[in-house]
Amino acid sequence: MNLYGVVLWLLTAIINSIAIPIIAWLGNLLWFIRPVTDFAIALLKNDAFLNFVVVFAEAFIILIYIALFIIILLWFERKMWGRFQDRRGPMHVGYAGLLQIFADMMKIFGKEDIIPKKADKLLFTLCPIIVTATAFLALVALPMSDGFVIARLDGGLLFVFAAFSLAPLGVFIGGWGANNKYTLQGALRGAAQMISYEVPLLFSVLGVVMLAGSFNIMDIVHRQTIWYALLQPIGLFVFFTAATAEIERPPFDIPEAESELVAGWQTEYAGMKYGICWVAEWIRMYVGAALVVLLFFGGWNGPWLPQEIWFQIKLWIILIFMIWVRQSFPRPRIDQLLNLGWKRLLPLSIVNIVLTIGIVASGWLG
């Protein structure tokens, strides 16, 4: 499936068969708006403008896809938790509890949006926006198949990481702006954690980039005749650990450590702001899992089945693994986590880079 082609075809069909006749009819009906309608028709027939609209339509489709993904992921994660914990998970709302998320959404929509009296209103409101927007931004360059992508960027990987690493800013100003000791602690922890895991995250990817010879995610996927997971086991390990820390998934959910910091930097958020923070987290989870699939497990490559289905199969296997990890480990302390990042993962990723340079330079892989 080619996202651009489909959207363009759909839009052209709509414009040619519905929009232009209606506008032309309006123009004939009301002579005094004739100049406006003429301009509109010219604009709709203009390719540059059409491309502009197509991008928005694509973004809209990705948005729907992500919304569906989150709904299914949440249900699936809860079911998995239930199984891990000897219970059944949600089962009353809808078939097998499928509609539970809608009930929860209703609840969260109905909550009062509280801004603490002493909070900095601007920063406090800005935080969920920044966190969510940067999470969505990463999706722009994240392909799901050869065609299902918005932007084919040459530096796509860099773009994704750049968008990814903007979130600490949001977390920090949110935690600072809420004017609460717990949020402050959580924000400082979040900033420290994300900054120190950014480095091993990027370093671990360098091996993949060297093997593929490109920062373009499409190229990286195309060049994986052998999965890079097999060629870069250290890189995969470091990347997976660092990505888990980067997206604040348990066991590395230290900025939101609920047993000591209530909810970390999210403590003061209520209602939909809190909901949005969580949406951002799930999108980041999607981005993390998708990157693992794209960089290390051959992306959408696979026999017989369509590319999108292969991608989803691999994605969900990674997600199951992430949920499993979440259910298995206790939470390390922040100092232990930073030690792990700087003293273990960073040297490990450097070793990985050196090894990869050796392999690439010796030309064993052709």
Binding site: W81, F84, Q85, D86, R87, K181, Y182, Q185, L188, P250, P251, D253, I254, A257, E258, S259, E260, L261, V262, R326, Q327, S328, F329, P330, R331, P332, R333, I334, D335, Q336
Partner: protein, 390 residues
Amino acid sequence: MAEMWINMGPQHPATHGLWDLRIKVDGDMILDADPQIGYIHRGIEKLGENRNYTQFIPLADRTGYASPMTWAILYVLTVEELMDIKVPPRATYIRTIAFELQRMASHLLFVYGMAENVGAMWPPLVYAYRERELLLDLFQILTGARFHFNYPRIGGVKWDIPQTFEAQTKKALDVIESKLKEYERMFDESEIFLMRTKGVAVLRKEDAIRMGVTGPTLRACGVKEDLRKSEPYMCYSDFDFGIPTGKNGDLYDRWVVRIAEIRESAKIVRQALDRIPGGAVATKVPAAVVKSVTVLDGETGYEDLCVIMAKVPKVIKPPPGEAYVRVEDSRGESAMYIISDGTERPYRIKIRSPIFCTLSALKYMMRGARVADVPPIMEGIDILLSEVDR
């Protein structure tokens, strides 16, 4: 970051309304801690002065809601000491079984709390509750209640053990013992759990003794002190069991000691079930008839008064004196001190709660720890605020 005081509680998931731990932090390091208690003070000691001796048993249950049975048994032991009552051996055995089952249930609650406070270890948390459920079922068939049992009586127990109890208990113990291995695999082989608990909140042996720390927390420091051995009450001298001790006195040792104690308790229960003697489950307690029945009208004659007096329950009136009894509770050495002035109500009930004394050591454990260590340290002493505040 500047130094600041953080109130961990009463509105905090780790202290959930029961108390307030104020900590002074410098960034992530804890400089000082200041526990504020009294949030669930119910005045149980004072309430006891306004009830007769039998009526206090349910209140004793509520003194420590995570191990009600041990507190109720402690209370009846104290009253029996006061009145010099000999309890039939079968009743003593039943009490011992209930006591040890309660200890197991309480320690499983500790497993739950430790898992929760060390991080999001949800499965072990739910597993510990699952196993505790078996014990609650046992209590249900034994006492009719799952939580606040009101089972021991002055001079014995409420009723005999039901027929299915022995078989079901042994089955439950088998399950729990096999699951304990699972916990040990889950925790002791988890690198992160070891990182979080080893060397954290070390309490030196001398400090622990000096501050009146008792129970598993003291034994984790390496002190082999257990009232069940050193000063056997009920029928503990009949059984063969060990006292698990730790070496370093850190969080991990507290964990290990409690898990080992569940095993030892299971051993005791098995032995008690095998050796339980027959006979009565309660003895006849010298009781007095209430004298202060006021007759309202002058019309009521002497015979009517006799009818009224026969219907009024007999109450226990210990002779004037005092009694102090201490037992090895799930959390340490709990004791009760009762003064009787010869009336049907105690003149004074004083409760010694083990956690109240251990709380004073909390400050020393907290110093030098990090913010993330606070909930595990709290849980490490198996905190129970209802017996602190009383």
